[in-house]
Amino acid sequence: MASPPEILQGTLDVLILKALSWGPLHGHAVSRVIRSGTGTFEVLDGSLYAALHRLEERGWIAGEWGLSDKGKAAKFYRLSAIGRRTLRQEAEAWETYAAAVMRMLAAKVQPT
C-alpha cells in the first residue's frame, strides 16, 4: 500500500478554514472532516492543533469553550469575518492553480 501523499505547506490552513465554513467545530471534529473530506491526506493531529492556534492568533478563526454532544468541555472554533474572506481568496487561488496544472496534465498533444 502506497503511503498517503504529504500535505503541501499552507494547504492545511485552507482545509481548516473550509472545514469551519459549515459551522463551529472542535479540533477533533475538524480532523475528522478533513480526513473524510479529502480521503487521501493523512494529517498529524498535533500539526492540526498547531495550525488551529496559529489561525486563531491571526484572527482568522475564533475559539470558545463549550460542551461537546457528550457533555464534555471542548474548545470550539468558528470562522471570523476575516477568515471567511481569506477562505474565499484562497479557494479562488487554488482553483486557478489546480485548473492550470490540470490543463497541462490533461493535454493530449504537446502545446505549442
Binding site: L44, D45, A50, S68, A73, K75
Partner: protein, 902 residues
C-alpha cells in the same frame, strides 16, 4: 503529554478569575481530542490499548504541538490585551472630551489657570536658567572653564570686575601659559559681508588660544585655528547670512575698515561663553580701541578691555595657577602705581585675583539690576504657579463635590474603581493637554517679551523658552492636576455613598470644603505677597522720580564727544554759536564735561597753606562757561554763580557743591575759603558760591564732591595749558525732541561726520538708567495681576459652588425670616475670614522675604506701612468684587432657594 486521558484538570478552569490559563487550556483541549479519538476507535472495533496506541500515533509529537500552541496563544493574548486597553483609552478620551465640552466654564478656568502658571514659569525660569545655571554650549568640559576677576580696591570700596588691561593680561599669561585666553566681550558692530551689503553682528575679539582652550579646534571646520588670523563665524550666522555656503571660507568680512578673511565656522550651537550670543570671533591682534593705535591700547595700563578665562583641572590646580597669576598681576599694578602715584589710593585690602564661574551671573560680581529682577521674577513666577496649582486643586475639589453623587451612583451600579480612576485621569489629561498647548504659545510669547523688556541689549542665541524647563513645568502641572482630579475617588468612601444617594451632603463634603478653604487662604497669602512686592517696587520708582538730580532734566540737551580729541574741541565754540541761533534754544554753554558724562578727577586738593584737605574723597572738577550752571539747572544755593567778569587775569574763583563743602569744611562757612587743585603749588581758587549736589554718573549714587571752575581762567596755574571744552550743554524752551533733531544737523554740518559727537537730551541719556526700575515695576505688576486673576477665578468658583451647596440651608434661613443682608453677610463672612487668614500669612511671608526684595527697592522700607495697608485693601476689594456675583445670586434667588428647601 504523559498523563492518561482520565482525570483532566478541568477544575483549574473554574478557579481562573483573571485571564486565561494557557497551559491548562491546551492540555484540556488535547485530552478531549485523545479521549474522543479513543472512543471512536473502540467503536470501530479496536481494543482499548490498540485504540490508545493509534490515537497517540495519529497525534504525532504531543509536547512539540503543545509548545507551538502555547506560543501562539501567548502572542494572541498579549495583542488582545493591548487592543482592549487602546480601545478603552479611546473610549475614555472621547467621553472626557464630551464632558469637558459640557462644562466649558470649568475647563476654561483650569486651562487659563494652568496655562498662566506653566507659561509664566517656563518663560522666567528659562531666562534664569540661561543667565545663572547653564554652562556654555558646545564647549568641551565646560565645567572646567573659569573666569578671572580683578579685585582693585579703592577708597572705601572694593571693585570686582572681570576686565583687565592688555598689559595685565600679558602678565597673567606669562604666569599661566596656554591654559588661559583673553577676549573682548561681545558687542554689536556693523559688518560688511563678502557679497556686499552690511549686517549687524555681535562681535567678540579673541586671543589665539581662545578656540583651543574651549576645545573647539577640531569642531571648527576648515583652517588651522591654533593660529587665529582670520574670523570664525557662528554656525547660525553662516546659515543665515552666508546661506550655509562652504565656499564662504576664505572670503573677507569688513569691520571698521579692516578686511578680515573667514577662517572657519564654529560648531553648531556654539555662541560664545557669555549670555549675549556672539556671531563672529575676530583676532584680538587686530582689535582697535577708539582712536588709539594698536600699539597704544596694548600698552595702556589704565583702560581694562579684555576678559580672561582659564581651564583648570582640579581645585588644587586652580589655586596654584591663580596664585602665580596674582603675583604677576600685583607686580604690574605696583609698577603702574609707581608711574602714576596719585591716580589711585590703595585701601586696606590689596589687589587680587578672584576665580569665578564662566557663567557671569553666578558671581563673584554683584548681579546686575536686570538679573536681580529676573531672580525676583522667578520667585514671583513660582508663586503664581503655586497659586495656579492651588486654584486648580480647589476647582477640581469643587467639581469633585458636584460629581460626588454621580460617582456614588456609578459605584452602586457596580462601576469598577479602576474604571472611574481611568475616567477622571482621562478628563484631567484632556484639560491639562489643552492647557499645555495654550501655555506653549503663551510661554513663547511671554519669553520673547520678557527678554525684550528685561535684557534688551542682549542678543540671545537660544529659543525664548527652554524645552527642558517647559517640560518640567508641564509635567509638574500635569501631575498636580491628575492628583487633584482623583479627589472624588479618594473622598467617596463607600459609607458616603448612601448619604450621597439620599441627596444630602456626605461626610466627605466638610473635608472637601475645608481643603478648598485652605487653598483659598494659600492663594490669598501669595497674592498679597505679590501685591505688596508690586507696591514696594512701584513706590521705589515714584521715589526715584522724586530724587532731585540737580538738573532741569526736561530742558537740557548735551552735545558731547565719546572720546576726547582736540579737533572736536576746536569745533565746539562754533557748534555752541550755531545752537544759540536755533529757535527754542535759550542758552548753549561749553564745559569740560557734561551731566552724566565725563568729569576730571582731581588727584589732590589743598588749602591756602598748601596742606592737603583731608576728608575729601574722589574729588571731581569741571571747567565751565559762565552761565553753565543756569543752563543745566543746577542751583547756586549761596554766594554767586560765575559771571563774564571771571576771566583770565581776574581773581581765580570756584564754586563748590554742598558735598565738597561738607567734606572739606564741616560746620564752617565755605564762602571765601581757598582751595588748590591737583598740586599744593597750584593757584588759590576763592570759593564764591555753593551749588546744590548734582548727580554725576548715576541716578542712584552717593553725593560726590565736585568743584566748578571757570573755563576762562588758568585754575591749575599759568604754566599749565588751559583745559579744552569737550561738551556743549543746551537749554531749550520747549520739548527738547524737536531741538535735538536740529542740533544733530548743526553738529553733522560742522563736523562733516568726521568726529563722533553725541547729541542727546538729558531725559534720553537717563532713560537706560530708569528703564530697569520701570521694567521691574511693570513686570512685578504683571505677575501680581496674573496671580490676582488666577486667585479671583478660584475664589469666584468656590463661592459660586458654596452658594449652590448651601442653597437649601439659605432658603430655610430666609423662610425663617433671615434678612437678605444677613444672608449676604453669612456668605461673604465665610470667604472673608479665610481671606483674612491668608492676609495675615501673606504679611508674615512678605516680612520674611523682605530682604530678598531689597536690591529692587529705593528709599522704601520693605515694611512700608502705606504699601502694606494698601495691598491688604486691594486684596480685600478684589475679593469682594469676586464674591459679588455669587452673593447677589444667592440673595436674589430666594425663590429658588425656598423651592429647594421644600
Amino acid at each position: 503529554m504523559t498523563r492518561a486521558a482520565g482525570g483532566p484538570r478541568s477544575w483549574r478552569r473554574y478557579l481562573r478569575f483573571w485571564g486565561s490559563d494557557i497551559d491548562a487550556d491546551v492540555e484540556l483541549e488535547f485530552l478531549f481530542h485523545l479521549e474522543a479519538e479513543i472512543v471512536r476507535l473502540i467503536e470501530a472495533g479496536y481494543s482499548r490499548s490498540e485504540a490508545e496506541r493509534r490515537a497517540r500515533q495519529s497525534f504525532g509529537d504531543i509536547e512539540a504541538a503543545a509548545r507551538l500552541c502555547r506560543r501562539s496563544d501567548r502572542r494572541r493574548l498579549h495583542r488582545e490585551r493591548w487592543t482592549e486597553r487602546m480601545h478603552l483609552a479611546r473610549h475614555e478620551l472621547r467621553l472626557a472630551l464630551r464632558r469637558v465640552a459640557l462644562h466649558p466654564g470649568y475647563a476654561t478656568a483650569v486651562v487659563v489657570t494652568l496655562a498662566i502658571g506653566i507659561g509664566a514659569n517656563a518663560a522666567v525660569l528659562s531666562i534664569v536658567d540661561y543667565a545663572f545655571l547653564r554652562l556654555p554650549a558646545a564647549v568641551r568640559d565646560a565645567g572646567e572653564i573659569r573666569r578671572l576677576y580683578a579685585l582693585r580696591p579703592r577708597v572705601g570700596e572694593s571693585d570686582i570686575r572681570p576686565d583687565f588691561t592688555y598689559p595685565e593680561w600679558r602678565d597673567i599669561r606669562h604666569a599661566t601659559g596656554a591654559i588661559a585666553a583673553a577676549y573682548v566681550p561681545p558687542s554689536t558692530a556693523s559688518l560688511t559681508l563678502p557679497e556686499g551689503g552690511s549686517a549687524p553682528a555681535v562681535v567678540s575679539w579673541v586671543d589665539s588660544s581662545f578656540a583651543t582652550l574651549l576645545g573647539l579646534d577640531n569642531a571648527i571646520s576648515a583652517g588651522d585655528t591654533r593660529v587665529l588670523a582670520g574670523a570664525v563665524i557662528s554656525h547660525r550666522f553662516w546659515k543665515s547670512h552666508l546661506g550655509g555656503d562652504p565656499a564662504a571660507i576664505g572670503k573677507a568680512l569688513r569691520i571698521d575698515g579692516a578686511m578680515i578673511p573667514i577662517q572657519g565656522i564654529a560648531p553648531d550651537g556654539f555662541t560664545g561663553i557669555d549670555l549675549a550670543a556672539a556671531d563672529v570671533w575676530l583676532p584680538l591682534q587686530r582689535y582697535i580701541v577708539g582712536s588709539q593705535s594698536r600699539q597704544e591700547w596694548r600698552e595702556n595700563r589704565a583702560q581694562p578691555i579684555v576678559q580672561v578665562i582659564l581651564r583648570v583641572g582640579s581645585s588644587a590646580d586652580e589655586q596654584r595657577i591663580v596664585r602665580a597669576a596674582e603675583t604677576e598681576f600685583r607686580r604690574g599694578r605696583a609698577a603702574y602705581r609707581e608711574m602714576f602715584p596719585r591716580r589711585e589710593v590703595v585701601g586696606s585690602v590689596g589687589d587680587g585675583l578672584i576665580v569665578g564661574s564662566v557663567v557671569a551671573g553666578r558671581g563673584p560680581m554683584q548681579v546686575s539690576q536686570e538679573l536681580s529682577i529676573a531672580l525676583a521674577l522667578a520667585g514671583l513666577a513660582l508663586m503664581v504657579f503655586v497659586v495656579a496649582c492651588a486654584n486648580v486643586s480647589s476647582l477640581c475639589l469643587a467639581r469633585a463635590s458636584q460629581r460626588e453623587r454621580e460617582t456614588a451612583v456609578r459605584m452602586t451600579l457596580g462601576a469598577d474603581r479602576m474604571h472611574l480612576v481611568a475616567q477622571l485621569v482621562a478628563e484631567a489629561l484632556v484639560v491639562s493637554a489643552i492647557a499645555v498647548a495654550v501655555a506653549t504659545i503663551g510661554a513663547a510669547w511671554l519669553g520673547t517679551a520678557l527678554r525684550r523688556l528685561l535684557l534688551p541689549q542682549i542678543e540671545f542665541g537660544h529659543p525664548p523658552v527652554d524645552a527642558r524647563v517647559f517640560g518640567a513645568m508641564a509635567c509638574l502641572a500635569l501631575a498636580g492636576n491628575v492628583a487633584a482630579a482623583l479627589a472624588p475617588i479618594r473622598l467617596t468612601r463607600m459609607s458616603d455613598v448612601t448619604a450621597s444617594l439620599k441627596g444630602g451632603s456626605s461626610s466627605a463634603a466638610p473635608e472637601m470644603t475645608r481643603a478648598r478653604m485652605i487653598f483659598l487662604s494659600v492663594q490669598a497669602a501669595l497674592c498679597l505677597v505679590l501685591v505688596i512686592g508690586t507696591g514696594l517696587v512701584g513706590r521705589s520708582v515714584l521715589q526715584l522720580r522724586r530724587v532731585p538730580l540737580g538738573y532741569d532734566v526736561a530742558r537740557v540737551v548735551t552735545i558731547s564727544a565719546r572720546s576726547f580729541s582736540s579737533t572736536q574741541a576746536a569745533m565746539l565754540p562754533d557748534i555752541a554759536r550755531d545752537a544759540r541761533a536755533i529757535a527754542g534754544v535759550r542758552a548753549a554753554r561749553m564745559a569740560t564735561g557734561s551731566p552724566f558724562g565725563t568729569l576730571s578727577g582731581a588727584s589732590g586738593v589743598f588749602d591756602a597753606l598748601g596742606t592737603p584737605i583731608t576728608g575729601v574723597r574722589r574729588l571731581s572738577y569741571i571747567a565751565v562757561d559762565p552761565g553753565y550752571l543756569r543752563t543745566v539747572g543746577t542751583h547756586v544755593t549761596s554766594g554767586r554763580s560765575f559771571s563774564d567778569d571771571d576771566r583770565a587775569g581776574s581773581r581765580l574763583v570756584a564754586i563748590v557743591n554742598r558735598e565738597l563743602a561738607r567734606q572739606a569744611w564741616p560746620g564752617q562757612e565755605p564762602l571765601g575759603k581757598c582751595l588748590r587743585l591737583e598740586q599744593s603749588t597750584a593757584p588759590c581758587l576763592a570759593v564764591v558760591g555753593v551749588a546744590e549736589n548734582a548727580h554725576t554718573h548715576r541716578i542712584v549714587e552717593n553725593a560726590r564732591p565736585v568743584v566748578y571752575v571757570s573755563l576762562q581762567q588758568p585754575f591749575l596755574g599759568p604754566d599749565r595749558p588751559p583745559m579744552q571744552p569737550s561738551a556743549v550743554v543746551v537749554r531749550v524752551a520747549r520739548d527738547p525732541l524737536a531741538v535735538v533733531q536740529q542740533l544733530r544737523s548743526v553738529v553733522s554740518k560742522r563736523t562733516a561726520g568726521s568726529a563722533p559727537l553725541e547729541v542727546k537730551s538729558l531725559s534720553e541719556l537717563l532713560a537706560p538708567q530708569y528703564a530697569p526700575w520701570y521694567r521691574g515695576a511693570v513686570l512685578f505688576g504683571l505677575f501680581a495681576a496674573m496671580a490676582l486673576v488666577v486667585a479671583l477665578t478660584g475664589l469666584y468658583g468656590i463661592l459660586a459652588y458654596n452658594v449652590e451647596v448651601r442653597s437649601r440651608e439659605l432658603g430655610v434661613r430666609m423662610a425663617l425670616g433671615a434678612s437678605r443682608i444677613r444672608v449676604a453677610r453669612l456668605i461673604l463672612g465665610d470667604a472673608m475670614r479665610h481671606i483674612a487668614v491668608g492676609a495675615v500669612a501673606g504679611l508674615m511671608i512678605a516680612g520674611l522675604g523682605a530682604k530678598l526684595l531689597r536690591p529692587l527697592l529705593y528709599e522704601v522700607s520693605p515694611h512700608d506701612p502705606a504699601v502694606l495697608a494698601g495691598s491688604v485693601a486691594i486684596l480685600f476689594l478684589t475679593a469682594i468684587v469676586a464674591c459679588m456675583v455669587p452673593t447677589i445670586r444667592a440673595v436674589r434667588d430666594t425663590l429658588r432657594a425656598l423651592l429647594h428647601a421644600v
